[in-house]
Amino acid sequence: MVIKTEGLTKWYGNKLGCRDICLSVSEGQVFGFLGQNGAGKSTLVKMLVGLIFPTSGRAEILGRPLGDREVKKRIGFLPETFRYQEWLTGYQLMKFHASLYKMPGSAGRERIEEVLQLVRLKGHEHYKIRTYSKGMQQRLGLAAALLPDPDLLILDEPTSAMDPLGRKEVRDLILKLKSAGKTIFLNSHLLSEVEVVCDHVALIKKGRIIAGGSIGELKAGKIEVEMIIGNYNDVINRSLAEKGYKPWRENERVMVTVDSRDKIPVIAEIVINNGGSLYRLTPLHNSLENLFLELMQEGGENDADHCRDDLQGSA
């Protein structure tokens, strides 16, 4: 396991940061940590990199307890604020960070060139950071995080200041790192992004994890079914509702949501047995976004007081 947390909890005084976070991220995963503003995403990563201390719970990174300095050499971190010493030039900042990672001079210089190229800041590196645009500063932060060629890359909303092209570049970069076997922990509220690059996700709401698993699993969980029915009548509607499928109509289309594939013929049966003419039945793949919104609205009732196996995104 690259990251393993057990009941990790942070209280800011009497304000909850996050609570009972149990996660496992294994090697080579791109793990998406999704949640709304204030859900507790940054709180978790700040604990992981040693900026804040957990109120309770335990965590291990790369097999060592939090705060281990040897392990920190193998972690790249992009903070959500991405503010850097702005009186330095981009290149000077890279050198500073290389020295903090204890990278020797020549190897450091080569690597600096490489990462500057990766984030497309080549040509800007000798200007003061003060003169960089927000997006450029975030790119620089990304370069700093990539500097030690880290085994674990922790990114807190890495594209919040970037333009669409920048977002795509970061996405490609993450996929490239993934294929190189690196583990990436990605905080985001941009589902579209997470959906494309991550293989595992956890959803956090009000400080608690409310769902998690591999993207495939999560998408498989619920299926939206679209039907076109002639003679749609009250009986069909009632029967579907009674069985808990909550049908809703859009023009001539009737939509229902089912928990699993097995339920699809059951629905067809209900429609036909009650006199409906079924012209078409299409199972739609639920996009993670719908799932996300649904989960977020459902509320955090499913209590995460202890670790649940299905939250552990084992590879």
Binding site: L51, I75, R83, Q85, L88, H97, L100, G141
Partner: protein, 277 residues
């Protein structure tokens, strides 16, 4: 690691315009002091120069005036340059990427301490030698105990720097500035109270003074320095004026200050080790 942080601290100071403004203003201060001294000397030399007791008294007073304002300047510099050294970085967020690196938090604090110390000591030595040099050149007045005077003088910015660094690990920049400045004033008022107390032989006042010197020994150091410099075998005790002293603090003050300094530095590390960022 410590040296990397120290170097960065040093570069941060060098990168600021205010640093160069301060240098220019400091040079101006020395020039003004030199000119004032020059004209004073022209008058006083009519009385027979530096061998005349009266003239020596005036020279020593002028020197104490210069030293007083030098101390003040050095103290202000020490406070203002360090007041946001940690809190400012927390407020802007620049510290986040640094803390996530393989470095101990204590190395960060000690590195900053080292950087500021080198900077403040160089600045203070220049001012100290400047004031004494100018005085010697234009008046021929030679103070006694140059070296122990320098020790006391250097301890003042060091002391304030450490207190201010420590404050910035748990207070906001603004709150820290107010706290350190208040402490400095307490030390100053306490010093005056103690002197007046000694003069009128009032133990209560003396005790209040000593107590405030223990809270903030900066003024005690100043008085120790001035007393050492201006009262030697061949220098008369100066008359009472707010800038000089007749009742020097005991030698234990230096030892106390060094212990104070180390304890506050240690406290800064302890506090910072535990705090959330």
């Amino acid at each position: 690691m410590m040296l990397i942080i120290a170097g960065m601290t040093f570069r941060e100071v060098l990168s600021k315009k205010i640093f160069y403004i301060v240098l220019v203003l400091t040079a101006m201060f020395l020039v003004v002091y030199g000119i004032a001294l020059h004209f004073a000397v022209q008058d006083i030399n009519k009385w027979g120069g530096v061998r005349n007791i009266q003239a020596r008294l005036i020279f020593s007073q002028l020197l104490s005036l210069g030293l007083y304002f030098s101390t003040f300047m050095v103290a202000l510099m020490a406070v203002f340059s360090t007041v946001g050294s940690v809190s400012g970085e927390i407020e802007t967020g620049t510290i986040q990427a640094v803390i996530a690196k393989p470095l101990k938090r204590s190395e960060l604090i000690l590195g900053k301490f080292l950087g500021y110390t080198v900077m403040m000591l160089s600045y203070s030595i220049v001012i100290y030698l400047g004031i004494l040099g100018i005085t010697f050149i234009s008046t021929g007045y030679e103070p006694s105990g140059l070296f122990s005077g320098l020790t006391s003088f250097l301890l003042i910015p060091l002391l304030l720097l450490v207190v201010s660094l420590c404050g910035s690990t748990f207070l906001s920049t603004m709150a820290n500035g107010i706290m350190v400045f208040m402490l400095y004033i307490i030390g100053m008022v306490g010093g005056m109270v103690e002197q007046i107390g000694s003069m009128i032989e009032n133990t209560a006042l003396v005790n209040i003074g000593i107590l405030s010197s223990l809270v903030m020994p900066s003024d005690a150091l100043y008085r120790k320095m001035v007393f050492g410099l201006l009262t030697g075998p061949d220098n008369p005790v100066t008359a009472f004026n707010p800038f000089s002293t007749m009742y020097p603090p005991s030698g234990i003050m230096t030892v106390y200050t060094i212990a104070y300094l180390l304890i506050v530095l240690f406290a800064a590390i302890r506090i910072f080790n535990r705090r959330d960022i």
